[in-house]
């Protein structure tokens, strides 16, 4: 599957991925670990409340997965074979909120003959437009 030519050019905005967070989605992600029976802030409202959080908290790595989906949809094999994603979680996301991931190509450098490394600014916002995760991705195309 080939990549659209425009998706390899600086300034390209990746199509966003939108996820509405609900308890089932939080449970399906954070309760999937065999052998881990701890009621975390991601699945147990009382545990979240004990740290002063108003509701269940989305696991950061789950937000990162949403960003990975955005990148995978565009770069396919290239994303699987040679890519990186580095993010910081700067604001918690709670049950009931909506996460929107975004990405924009900021740099393109030749890695080897005919191969280019793209640098992509990546971030996620909540439904109010506040950034909850920021970072950068790289992929060889």
């Amino acid at each position: 599957m080939s990549i659209e030519p425009k998706a390899t050019e600086v300034g390209f905005d990746l199509p966003p991925v939108v996820k509405k967070i609900n308890p089932e989605l939080l449970r399906n992600y954070s309760n999937r670990y065999p052998g881990v029976f701890i009621k975390t802030i991601h699945v147990d409202k009382e545990a979240a409340g004990s740290w002063g959080f108003p509701d269940l908290v989305l696991q950061g790595s789950q937000t990162m997965n949403f960003a990975a989906e955005m990148l995978f949809k565009v770069y396919r094999e290239n994303w699987i074979n040679d890519s990186n994603l580095n993010v910081k979680f700067i604001k918690p996301v709670f049950n009931g909120q909506t996460v929107v991931t975004r990405g924009k190509i900021t740099d393109k450098t030749e890695e080897s003959e005919g191969k280019f490394r793209l640098k992509i600014d990546v971030w996620a916002e909540n439904q109010s437009g506040e950034k909850v995760m920021v970072g950068e991705a790289g992929v060889v195309v």
Binding site: M1, K19, E24, L25, N28, Y29, S30, R32, Y33, P34, G35, V36, F37, I38, K39, T40, I41, D44, E46, A47, G49, S50, W51, G52, F53, Q59, G60, S61, Q62, M64, N65, F66, A68, E69, F72, K73, R76, E77, W79, I80, N81, D82, S83, N84, L85, N86, V87, K88, F89, P92
Partner: protein, 147 residues
Amino acid sequence: MNQAEYNKQSVDWRTIKEGSVVGVLAYGVPHTDAIHYAKEAILDPDPWYINDSPFGGPIVPPGYFYGEYLRLVVIPNYPMGVLNSQLSFESKGPVFHGEPIAVTGTVDRIYEKRGRPYLDLGISVKKNDGREVGRGVVTILLNLEEG
């Protein structure tokens, strides 16, 4: 046991040594788990994850391994903390459903910043032939006072 209770009975973070292996998880992601993960945990039922891919079979979403730190830290009873502040991951090739892999966690760095303890946990995903197909680092805030 909830997360706060777990953290209270976990080992003192000051005893954690840099360079130590936290644990090794050797498994294959079962077909049904991989499908459940794609469809229900990340809501991305991509056909490459469910049916088939150009790699020669359905593959495990690379993000499946982003969260493995949570399973690794409980092996030596390390504190789980409450927030992971930073996460990076490189994908270097496909992992197929059921394919045997080993996920190894190591203590890359343990340090204090602004009076709070942090753990940089390295994660490496290798196939049986030793080839690394994924590599990452998660930064975990180990101790946050309850509200």
